[in-house]
Symmetry: C2
Subunit: 173 residues, 2 copies
């Protein structure tokens, strides 16, 4: 059910996919759905937090040597995934675009994932001995957002090359 919703939300957007679509494709009764999720927004929030969990779990599996290599592996993976045919951009950025109110629970879930992402970068940089881990983490978050938008809207090969070169320049300092 959540898996089906996630697939549809990611591929087609949140507002364009109705409850009827989801329960039909998940082969679930409407009453069952509304028992699990009191409203559609609850489902959207669950979608966001589930996606966040997925990404945290994915990062946890990356256990290549140093923190620097780990950081590089994370960006390499994002590039690899972004170049794939099913890529539709970042679920958090895309969903946020459909929720203008920053105080909305969905937006708060997104904000929380972004904080985790930034702190992940900072910790990896600090562990690698980077002299300015805080600011550089903010820059890597900028780069990450540019990455997800670029792979969605522009030529993947160009975006990949730009990301690699940008990483080199940003981390060289």
């Amino acid at each position: 059910m959540l898996v089906t919703a996630a697939r549809l939300f990611y591929r087609e957007g949140v507002h364009t996919v109705g409850i009827d679509r989801i329960i039909a494709e998940a082969e679930v009764a409407k009453a069952t759905f509304y028992k699990h999720f009191p409203s559609k927004d609850d489902l959207v929030r669950a979608y966001v937090t589930a996606e966040s969990s997925r990404q945290r779990a994915a990062v946890a599996t990356v256990d290549t040597g140093s923190s620097r290599e780990k950081l590089m592996a994370i960006f390499a993976f994002m590039c690899e995934f972004g170049a794939g045919p099913t890529y539709r951009g970042c679920p958090f950025v895309n969903t946020a675009a459909e929720y203008p109110d920053p105080d909305h629970p969905v937006r708060q879930a997104i904000a929380e994932h972004r904080r985790w992402t930034r702190d992940l970068y900072r910790d990896l940089l600090a562990d690698d001995g980077h002299p300015d881990a805080e600011r550089t983490a903010d820059i890597l978050l900028l780069l990450r957002d540019g990455l997800v938008v670029g792979f969605d809207l522009d030529d993947p090969a160009t975006t990949r090359a730009a990301v690699q070169e940008a990483l080199a320049r940003v981390l060289a300092a």
Copy 2:
């Protein structure tokens, strides 16, 4: 009419704003609206191209000395605007998030604006004598996308500082 639609689309998103809202706030009859725009998608496309024209015009007014200063002024302006209370992210990125199909006319209009943006960066860099204007322009586009997402979703002051530092590191090479 287009101005009203642009305001609503930008503030609340494309799919959430209905035709009825637009004609009510624009104080226009429904038949009049459908005479000018055969369908809502036509209006959305007009919104995107109008926004593109606005940005091109805004860039044209920047006539500070060198190309380098011009580039800096453009990013400074984006930061200034992004820190404002009415900022809701990039209209192109946000709208693209609601149109998954890359072949859709709306997406094509967005793609065209992105090409213009990238070429603007490239021309300014080349005019400034940058040794790798092509690749650096791609990187600046990454940075731009990170900027618009960051100012929308994160702390503006942090994002501004990150953008400035990132610009310095990217252009230093």
